[in-house]
């Protein structure tokens, strides 16, 4: 009967059964194709190219196809590589901890302390205002503020808190991390806020009815339920910080290095194979970090 019904709805009923099996498969493929093609051309192919080039050789001004391990040998043979990777992890870890603390607090305030929804939306939009201008501008605007004769130092001196300007405010690890936190906290706020909004208020009521204090319900109810959001935010922040090079360059006055700067230096000096090898190692490292993170929380299940 169903067959009959379908024949009625389908145009060209003569070979309908055959069309159905072929058509369904084909349509499935066609539907998947645009995304698949985009991914192949713009994600897979470039990565494959980078891996291939990482085995090539380079002269002063050109690169030539080859299969050699020189680039990797040099990378692993230099203690600078380890120092720089360590610095990259250090920036990622500190930035992560700070953005999580700030992001969680802001999201918590927005989700549970602000009662009206319109107020929530208004405050949330307020958080995004810094994003109306470019990354670089937000970053560079710190420089005159933190400089030796900058606003921060002159204010502190005026207040009599310090006699000498604080040198470590600018061109230091401090300024790099400050810029990172400023740039990337929102990436923590948004996913955490999002998961918090989905927590059923009934659960919090139940916690309170059972005698849980505010802190207890935060630790035992809200925190576990916000884990997917925290994890998504973590992935954002960690990958952004690990892949960055311009923030480190500007805010440290070129005095510090992370892996991104190593790569950008190589590229600017036409050492593409060596840059590619570093990029491959960075990619593997970041994937490993994300793999470990995903062990803790099954994002797909929780979404």
């Amino acid at each position: 009967m169903t067959e009959v019904a379908r024949e009625v709805t389908l145009p060209g009923p003569v070979d309908a059964p055959r069309r159905k099996s072929v058509g369904a498969g084909l349509i499935g493929w066609l539907q998947a194709m645009p995304l698949a093609l985009v991914l192949v051309f713009f994600l897979l192919a470039p990565i494959v190219m980078i891996v291939i080039v990482s085995f090539w050789g380079a002269t002063e001004f050109s690169i030539y196809p080859d299969f050699q391990f020189d680039n990797y040998a040099f990378l692993f043979g230099s203690d600078v590589t380890y120092r720089v990777f360590f610095a990259t992890f250090k920036y990622a870890a500190i930035t992560w901890a700070l953005t999580l603390a700030i992001g969680f607090t802001v999201a918590y305030f927005l989700a549970f302390h602000v009662r009206s929804q319109s107020m929530q939306i208004a405050l949330f939009l307020l958080c995004t205002i810094p994003f109306w201008t470019s990354n670089i501008i937000r970053m560079i605007s710190w420089i005159p503020f933190l400089g030796r004769n900058g606003i921060a130092n002159s204010t502190l001196i005026d207040w009599g808190l310090i006699d000498q300007p604080l040198e470590w405010l600018l061109y230091s690890d401090f300024s790099v991390i400050l810029a990172f936190v400023h740039l990337y906290t929102l990436f923590m706020v948004v996913p955490i806020f999002n998961t918090m909004m989905r927590i059923d208020p009934v659960l919090l009521e139940a916690a309170r009815d059972n005698g849980a204090s505010g802190f207890q319900s935060l630790v035992h109810v809200i925190l576990p339920l916000t884990k997917p959001g925290i994890m998504i935010g973590t992935i954002f922040v960690v990958t952004l910080v690990m892949g960055d090079f311009i923030t480190v360059r500007f805010m440290s006055g070129s005095q510090r290095a992370n892996v991104g700067r190593l790569i950008s230096n190589d590229i600017s000096l036409l050492q593409y194979p060596s840059a590619a090898a570093t990029a491959v190692i960075l990619l593997i490292t970041v994937l490993m970090v994300i793999g470990i993170l995903l062990r803790f929380v099954n994002i797909r299940k929780e979404l």
Binding site: A58, E60, F61, S62, F74, S78, V80, R83, V84, A87, I143, P144, G147, R148, N149, G150, E167, L170, Y171, R249, S252, G253, S254, Q255, R256, A257, R261, L262, N265, D266, I267, S268, L269, L270, Q271
Partner: protein, 421 residues
């Protein structure tokens, strides 16, 4: 149109082309057609000026598109994207790197009207017949090739030029006299602990290493065979000294772009640093005292020139030659000399500068009136003299030229380590 092209070709065959080029700026037969030509030029910010493009449009009729990049990007582009430009405005040490790729074509010096007036530095390497040739990639060593198509450089003038010299200068350290308060006369002061946390050096390896070498030699720590072509041992020693200084907090920051160097100096973050002449000008024009300090060890010099893409031919090539002849004919030279650079053919620039300007910038005389930059900012009062004096005094005291070494790759890796240290 096609008829005109025919007539032009005929003229060319007749061998009148050279005469026509020399008679510049006489109106050309193909004046109408050349207006449709667009030449794409790229180079470092120093000479890629929109004012030049505008003047080209006015004087020659064709369009010049300018792209300004930093030194590293310029090298990268010239070496890897030959079809993206018609004219490369590059430095001589970049030429040494890029020429072997075959992306540039040699120029016939007989088509350059002012060739004979180009200063000796770019021809036989000597400013005056008895001057000594400095270390490094001296322009004349990479200025000529034996024949069109060759990838090796020739040792003497051959009639086939790689780059037509445009501007050059002698670089030294920039200082803030108001914040230092005592005379500075040697490169060694860059690492003087007195300026701890207030010094800077540029983060462009090929130039930075030369400044480092000048400092190490002035300190008496290292005696170089050739600063422009160091051995691995010399490179290691140089970086050891600077790495130690960096870890002791000698440097406030490193700079990579012109603007960064200006801001570091103007804000007082840094009081002594490697600097470029127009950056000094930019600091001064904000009313902040800044001196391009002549030092007893001499200058680190550099020279730039324009090279032609190997894909240029036909009317575009003719236009390019016209552009080069125009470039050397004085207006650009005058413009650049009023910024503190030198023109490859100084005598033609004289006509485009006032007597006061020529005296101040070129002859090292006291200014008789206010000196202003091409954009109108006041740079010097009457009675002031240029830092370092006259052309001969400055260019005659060059200790080394910007260079690219045989051990460049090793040096670059060391540079990366230095930044990460």
């Amino acid at each position: 149109m096609s008829k005109m092209r025919y007539s032009r070709r005929t003229i060319l065959k007749g061998g009148v082309a050279t005469a026509a080029a020399t008679a510049f700026p006489a109106p050309m037969v193909w004046a109408q057609e050349i207006k449709d030509v667009t030449l794409r030029q790229f180079g470092t910010g120093v000479s890629n000026l929109n004012d030049v493009a505008q003047k080209v449009k006015e004087d020659l009729g064709f369009t010049l598109e300018m792209t300004a990049l930093d030194s590293d990007s310029v090298t990268q582009r010239a070496a890897t994207q030959p079809d993206s430009f018609d004219i490369a405005d590059i430095e001589y040490w970049i030429c040494k790197k890029v020429w072997p790729t075959g992306n540039l074509q040699a120029m016939d010096t007989s088509r350059i009207a002012n060739y004979d007036k180009i200063v000796g530095i770019f021809r036989d390497g000597k400013l005056t017949p008895d001057s000594e040739i400095a270390q490094g990639t001296a322009p004349h060593t990479v200025g000529f090739i034996p024949e069109p198509g060759a990838t090796e450089f020739a040792d003497e003038e051959t009639g086939w030029m790689t780059l037509i010299p445009t501007i050059y200068n002698a670089d030294t350290l920039g200082i803030r006299p108001d914040l230092i308060g005592r005379p500075i006369d040697t490169w060694a002061e860059l690492l003087n602990p007195e300026f701890k946390g207030k010094a800077s050096i540029l983060d462009i390896s090929s130039i930075g290493i030369m400044d480092m070498a000048m400092v190490c030699e002035a300190m008496g720590e290292i005696q170089y065979g050739d600063k422009g072509n160091m051995t691995r041992e010399e490179i290691d020693k140089t970086f050891a000294i600077f790495t130690e200084a960096k870890q002791n907090g000698q440097f406030r920051a490193f700079w990579k772009t012109f603007d960064e160097s200006v801001n570091l100096m103007a804000s007082g973050e840094v009081v002594i640093q490697s600097m470029w002449s127009p950056a000094i000008t930019a600091v001064k024009s904000r009313g902040i005292p800044c001196v391009y300090q002549p030092l007893k060890e001499g200058y680190r010099s550099w020279g730039g020139g324009i090279g032609l893409s190997s894909s240029l031919s036909g009317i575009e090539l003719d236009a390019a030659y016209e552009y080069i002849n125009w470039y050397l004919s004085g207006w650009v030279g005058g413009y650049l000399m009023r910024q503190g650079y030198y023109s490859a053919v100084p005598e033609t620039s004289k006509d485009f500068m006032s007597e006061n300007e020529w005296g101040y910038w070129f002859e090292g005389k006291e200014a008789t009136d206010i000196i202003t930059s091409p954009t109108g900012d006041k740079l010097a009062e009457a009675g002031e003299t240029r830092d370092g004096g006259s052309f001969e005094e400055r260019m005659g005291a060059v200790a080394c030229w910007n260079a690219v070494m045989d051990e460049n790759q090793y040096m670059v890796r060391k540079w990366n380590e230095f930044i990460a240290a």
